[in-house]
Every structure is written in C-alpha cells, then in structure tokens.
Point group: C2
Chain length 197, copies 2
C-alpha cells in the first residue's frame, strides 16, 4: 500500500481489517494525530481511555499495549513505536475548546470536527466520538495530578504501528491546536499494511 | 431533604436541578461510589473525563474543580470534600471487567450494570454511559504512568458536596468491585440539598 497524506488541520477515515497494520508517521516532527476508532460492525463499541487504563494498568501506552473499547474488546495493539510519547487523557479539541482555552471565538478547524466530518459518511454521530488516542501528543502530569501540554517529542520520520484486533473504522487527524503542535501545523502520513504485503 | 441509602452493590438515579447540591456520604468508610450524569435536556451531553482533565488541567479533582461534559459544559462543581481522593481515570466495572481482571465469569453486580439499570427508566442507553467520576476511589499513578487501585482513604462519615451547574440526571452506585473497596462491600448515602433548604 502507498502512503496517504493528511493535510494540515484536517482528517481522514477508513476501514482497517483485523490483522492489518496501520502505520502513522509524523513526517516533519512535532505534529499530533488524534485517532478514534469503532468496531466496524457496531458503532456503539468504540475506543475508551477508561477501559484502556483499567486493563493496561498504565496511563502511558507504547509497544505491547492494547487500546480497548468501552465494551471491553481489544481494538488495536501497538507493535512498533519509534517515539514512545502519546496521550490518552485529553479530549479532542473542538470549537468550545478554542473558546475556553485559547479565548478564540472565530470558526476554525478542530480535531473533533475533523474526526466527525471524516466519520459521518460511515454513519457516525457526533455523540459517538469520545476521547481519542492522541498519537505523538506530549502531556505531562505530576504526582499532584497537574496536567500540562508540552511540544511533541516526535522528530521527522517518527512512527507508530498498530495492529487491528478486530475489523475497525478508524479516523485520524493532523491536529489543529497550536499548543499541542508547538505552534506550527504540519501534515500526518499513514499507511495501511495489509496481510498480503 | 432526607438521606437516601444506596444498598451494597446497587445504584440509584435521580434528577438534580441547577443550583441544587448533592452530598455523597461514605457512611462506613472505604466504599467507592461511581457517579455518572447527563444534561437532563440532552442525553448526548454527558460527563467526560477527557474534557474535565483538559479544562481543569488536573487528573485529581477536589474543592473548586468542575466536572465537564463532552459538549464542554460545566456539569458539577465540587464545593466541599472531606476526603479529597477520587478517581476519574478508570471506567465503571462491568461483567467483562470481572472476567478479565478477577477471572470471575459468574453473573454478579457491577457498577456499569447498576448505572444502566438505574438510568434506563430515564431513557438512557448502555452506549451513552462512559467513564464515571469514581467518588472515594483511590487510584495511584506514578511518573511512568503505572496505575494501581488502592484501598479508599475515606473514613466513616466522609463526604463530597457537588453543586449542579445545569439541570442534570445523575446516577450513583455503591461500587461492586472488591479491589476498589478493600474487599468489603458497604452502602453509600446521598442527600439532595435543595435551594430552599
């Protein structure tokens, strides 16, 4: 399969079959990609940070960890990870996020809307999109629980490979929030590695 | 208003109007209560750990913090808290949790099912119940992100008071997971403090 580019501040959705691998690449460094996914056969079975933290017993997820659904199914396994720093705590940025955190009331792209615009053709409703796995997002937390968003550690060419544990509908973005991407918007690349390749 | 008791390993749902306060009490100590809530007028607007971590910039929530919805609305404010240790990371226990974590395949009460059984009379579907705010749950995490469930710090009589920021549908449980409650199931009490009282 060839590499697909997600232009800056946009998103794409696609099917990923069980056993196929998804490689998500940070082509220019310091760029976050929000990923959300659904059981292809059941849109009420979807990615869950709470279930993942429970079963993986970790807030930080890298090689060997699974991402779980709200119905307690394994959705994806992280099989390669050249970066190692991702986030599963924070919800996708949306119009209100920019208003509340950035005091920016004008219409602008957001990960939530980019996920929704990509997914709606597959029958997904807004209310079905929850907290995404934020690939390359660098969120620090200390022992007092204080959270801060720091520049991504990903350098140009860093990648993560996920292996699908079930037939999935996946959406990815090139994140649109200044703070998450060290104040510069870059594209995200992805490649589906099929069973035959 | 009088105090209502939630018997061990069960749940209750009720409306809480804007401005009313909800006092949740741990009458015997070391007992967790999972709380989930909805905008009374819009069941697609519901409690979100990802949005709360984002806006409160903290994983640990106590006096002065708000609990936010997926649509970026303030739902509840914590106005009193005699315990100070709660969790918003882990999803409610369900039948599969007990199978995966406890290797227990027999039918038994769970917070997820107790939330659902309480909420279904109000039109809530299973897929609308996400990660609850786990009152009195003591979840440790270290700098490497490792998560562990420890005995609750709540002693008999500890309580939290929440102030509703909108008209809400709220569900509470007396949690049914051994590990979360130091291996002994106790009841939970709650009181609605209305504007007139």
């Amino acid at each position: 399969m060839s590499i697909t580019r997600i232009p800056i501040r946009s998103g794409k959705a696609f099917y990923l079959n069980r056993g196929e691998k998804l490689k998500v690449i940070c082509p220019e460094g310091e760029q976050v990609s929000d990923m959300f996914c659904f059981d292809k056969e059941d849109l009420d079975n979807r990615l869950s940070n709470g279930k993942t933290f429970d079963y993986e017993e970790s807030l930080l997820l890298s090689i060997g960890n699974y991402l779980w659904s709200n119905k307690s199914d394994k959705m994806l396994k992280i099989v390669e990870d050249s970066c190692g720093i991702h986030d599963f705590l924070l919800a996708p940025c949306d119009a209100k996020t920019f208003e509340i955190i950035y005091k920016d009331k004008q219409e602008r792209p957001s990960c939530f809307n980019n996920l929704y615009q990509s997914l709606k053709a597959y029958g997904v409703e807004k209310s079905q999109i929850g907290t995404a796995f934020n690939i390359f997002m660098n969120v620090n937390f200390d022992w007092q629980g204080r959270v801060s968003v720091e520049p991504p550690r990903a350098v140009a060419g860093d990648y993560v490979i996920f292996e699908a544990q079930m037939d999935l509908l996946v959406a990815l973005t090139a994140c649109s929030a200044e703070m998450s991407n060290n104040h510069s918007f870059k594209p995200i690349d992805y490649e589906i590695i099929s069973l035959e390749s």
